[in-house]
């Protein structure tokens, strides 16, 4: 059996430590701020995390680009030379064109290297919803599963990774075209927090409203309890867009309210961050398969 590389991208939000621990590599997307393009590093090398989110708070517009074809080509060719297959678990295709691009490039590379296998899986989620699947892949690889077996496993279970989060301002997601929400979620509503899940296609979907940040967190805890399975054996992953106080509060509430084994918190990376805006908190757990498709 050929060795294979587990590959994520800039939306998986896994920090360097975890990537090293799980032996996960990632390809970078890019973001553009004030006309300048930056590689979307999950280690915040080009621009610090506070600097990044403060720019958004100041009203600066940040746009993002998917993983360029050349990046995939370079990465896949590099693996071909090393005799490695590739399992790419990419950002939800409802949010990014990266999986598509990867498939196109993969086909070309596999033609040039018939012995090579490149498997591209649409995570139908982003941030830790994608990160969890990358960690699954790594665990399974270590357990001796083949790339085909792992691919099949992910395709079967990806919709069981449940997302539930809230944003401070839904207009970021709206502007980015990365949310399904009825018009009732927009307008100048004071203190109204939308509760967002990732639907069966991997699109963000506003399922309800909560009044005030504290109620929103309670809704998140309630949702995790509703969909989560065996929470007492799980780590709940919570990512946040530069709101340490909020994420710590939520982490404590989740721990207390769900009885989960552990809570892990970290920053939302620059790509997801640019879409959701500062103040966002999103929790992920594993549970019921999501079958809903958002309708505005």
């Amino acid at each position: 059996m050929r060795e294979y590389l587990i590959l994520g991208d800039s939306t998986c939000d896994l920090n360097k430590e975890i990537r090293e621990q799980y032996d996960i590599d990632y390809v970078q997307m890019n973001y553009v701020l004030e006309g300048k393009e930056y590689p979307a590093s999950l280690d915040w090398e080009e621009m610090g995390v506070h600097e990044f989110y403060n720019a958004m708070r100041e009203g600066k517009r940040i746009t993002t680009t998917q993983v360029p074809a050349e990046t995939f080509l370079a990465k896949f060719n590099e693996c071909a030379e090393k005799g490695l297959d590739v399992l790419y678990v990419g950002c939800s295709s409802a949010l990014s064109g990266s999986v598509n691009t990867a498939n196109v490039v993969a086909k070309e590379v596999m033609e040039a290297h018939p012995e090579m296998k490149i498997s591209c899986v649409d995570a139908r989620n982003s941030s830790f919803g994608q990160g969890i699947q990358l960690m699954w892949a790594s665990d399974q690889k270590k357990a001796g599963k083949t790339i085909e077996e792992v691919t099949a496993f992910l395709e079967k279970h990806r919709n069981c990774v449940n997302q539930c989060g809230t944003v401070a301002d839904l207009s970021y997601l709206k502007r980015a075209g990365r949310v399904t929400a009825s018009s009732a979620f927009f307008g100048n509503l004071i203190g109204i927090k939308p509760i967002l899940i990732s639907d069966a296609n991997g699109q963000n979907f506003a399922i309800k409203k909560a009044k005030g940040a504290s109620n929103a967190k309670m809704e998140i805890v309630a949702y995790l309890n509703e969909v989560g399975k065996n929470l007492e054996k799980q780590t709940v992953y919570i990512s946040h867009a530069d709101d340490e106080k909020s994420v710590q509060t939520l982490a404590a509430m989740v721990k207390e309210g769900t009885g989960c084994k552990d809570v892990f918190t970290d920053y939302i990376g620059p790509i997801v961050g640019a879409s959701v805006g500062p103040g966002t908190v999103i929790a992920y757990c594993v549970g019921k398969e999501e079958t809903r498709v958002g309708e505005a």
Binding site: S182, F185, G187, G212, N215
Partner: protein, 561 residues
């Protein structure tokens, strides 16, 4: 000379005189507030309600009492505004029922009819409160019921004596009146109506100080004041720009149509093909229509196949300088087609715009100083094609009118579900709207609305218009006071202090999370800055935001959740 019988004309004159007398005292009735806030619209509402009735009867010779009262009661119902208006309309409905079959009325027949009126009035209120108009009419009835006089002059003398005495006793029955040192405003309005009637019977003519021209017999129609005409606006070279505002009341006729089965949508369907701004209501055998059209003649010919005209009015809209009519003409209300439509009752440019923005499909203008009539709601219903219509009254005085309208319309158009979600303030209305997801089912929307209302506290800040001693507070005229909708919670010469006091006294404020701040017309940036400073200093846990409400009476309306 004694008056032993009242015929249709005499009763008509009495009712017109009742309206004039009420209108002459409108300001006084308005000012009989149980709170030192200028929310006294009782007089205005009762006048508008009476006008609705008078409009229908003033034109014609009224031979039979029963016919007169039937028409009058129907007009009063369609014109009813506010709680006091609805109660008054129900009184006259009962009065009309009590006079059924009568060409004239003797004093004892009058008493019987009056008694039916009292019964109906009590029925119209879910929990009748003593110390109000209800008590005044009931106690008046109890005196004339047992009276054996044949002269109306004597009957009215006894009735008025008792009702005035009863009115004077209202503060003893209703603590809230006593605290504020006033008598009940609705009761006072009712007394003025009957006082005016008495004067007409005694041959005393009243000067109509506040005449809108209606009682004099000049006007009718959908509650519009007669338009001022500027002849220069349309000349030999003008082009017809707006068409004609056409209003009429059509008497359906048995010879022409099966009246009971006649569907108003037949007429609406036709009107839609030739005009807009359509209001068409069928009430028993009467059809009332308001439409803007370039070809009023066609409409008249068409509708004549169902009946004959009781009254007609056609005006070239280019000549109308009546602001409301022009606004209506430009508005071109489009039919709203959706599964669940929402009507909200608010007034003021800012609030109307904002409520539309957050999901109200139709705004029926209404608020503290002007309550919408049943007809205003029916007009709104006609603009909506929905399975469910939800009404947010946004004022406790509008709840009954909304429920009444739902009942009237529900009978005419089966299959439409009309629900009144009892939002009793702008704050509650906002909260209800803000929490819904319009893409959900009607049941879910209604339950989300009710859930939201449960958690919101209303805060109102305004200037006291007179000195009042409350149990715990002595309010000085000109002070700013903070109310929670019912009670005065804070009082200060300083606006921001009054706001702070109100928030502090709001029950469970430490568990509240969000405050939506609707600022009024009088509030400028400086005041908002001061408010902001106050709230961040004293209530740092509250998330807040400003909304330009542009309302008149209240400097701030707070939705505290």
């Amino acid at each position: 000379m004694s008056i032993t019988h009242l015929d249709g004309e005499a009763l008509k004159e009495a009712l017109v005189s009742g309206l004039i007398n009420l209108r002459n005292h409108k300001g006084e009735v308005d000012s009989l507030n149980v709170f030192p806030v200028p929310d006294g619209d009782t007089g205005t509402n009762m006048v508008m309600t009476m006008e609705g009735g008078i409009q229908v009867i003033a034109q014609d010779y009224q031979e039979r009492v029963e016919d007169l009262l039937k028409k009058f009661a129907r007009g009063v119902l369609l014109g009813a505004r506010g709680n006091s208006g609805v109660i008054l309309s129900q009184f006259f409905k009962g009065f009309a029922l009590g006079a059924e079959g009568k060409k004239t009325l003797t004093t004892s027949e009058f008493s019987t009819a009056f008694g039916r009126g009292v019964e109906k009035a009590y029925e119209s209120v879910i929990t009748p409160t003593e110390g109000t108009m209800l008590t005044v009419m009931r106690e008046g009835f109890e005196v004339i019921r047992d009276l054996s006089v044949t002269d109306f002059a004597e009957l009215f003398a006894a009735l008025m004596d008792e009702m005035r005495a009863s009115l004077a006793r209202t503060p003893d029955l209703l603590a809230v009146l006593k605290e504020a040192g006033v008598i009940d405003s609705g009761g006072a309005g009712f007394v003025y109506v009957f006082e005016g009637m008495e004067k007409a019977l005694l041959g005393e003519a009243l000067d109509d100080a506040g005449a809108g021209g209606l009682a004099g017999g000049a006007g009718f129609g959908a509650g519009h004041a007669p338009a001022k005409i500027d002849p220069a606006a349309f000349n030999a070279d003008s082009e017809l720009e707006y068409g004609y505002c056409t209003e009429f009341i059509l008497q359906l006729q048995n010879a022409k149509v099966d009246i009971a089965a006649f569907d108003i949508n037949t007429i609406i369907g036709y009107l839609e093909s030739v005009g807009d701004s359509i209001v068409a209501v069928k009430d028993d055998d009467l059809v009332k229509v308001h439409v803007h059209s370039f070809k009023p003649g066609d409409i008249l010919n068409y509708c004549q196949q169902f009946g004959e005209y009781i009254s007609l009015k056609i005006e070239n809209m280019s000549l109308q300088h009546n602001e409301t009519l022009i606004v209506k003409g430009e508005e071109k209300p489009e039919m709203i087609r959706k599964e669940t439509a929402i009507i909200a009752c608010v007034s003021g440019r800012g609030l109307e715009k904002y409520f539309r923005e957050i999901g109200a499909d139709v705004i029926v203008k209404g608020g503290q100083t002007s309550n919408p009539s049943t007809e205003d709601f029916v007009e709104a219903f006609h603009r909506i094609d929905a399975q469910t219509i939800i009404i947010l009254p946004c004022n406790s005085n509008i709840v009954i009118a909304a429920e009444q309208a739902a009942k009237v319309y529900g009978g005419d158009v089966p299959g439409v579900r009309i629900e009144v979600v009892k939002a009793k303030s702008v704050a509650e209305g906002y909260s209800a709207l803000s929490m819904i997801d319009s893409s959900q089912s009607a049941d879910r929307i209604i339950s989300d609305m009710n859930g939201a209302i449960e958690n919101v506290s209303t805060g109102l800040i305004t200037k006291a218009i007179r000195d009042v001693d409350y149990t715990e507070l002595a309010v000085k005229e000109g002070d700013y006071i903070g109310l929670d909708g019912d009670e005065v919670l804070s009082d200060s010469p300083n606006l921001i202090e009054a706001c702070r006091g109100l928030l502090e006294k709001t029950a469970g404020i430490e568990d509240k999370a969000v405050v939506a701040v609707f600022y009024g017309k009088s509030v400028d940036q400086e005041v908002r800055d001061a408010f902001e400073k106050m709230i961040t200093e004293h209530f740092p846990w509250l998330e807040y935001g400003f909304i330009d409400g542009g309302q008149d009476v209240y400097d701030f309306i707070l939705a505290i959740e």
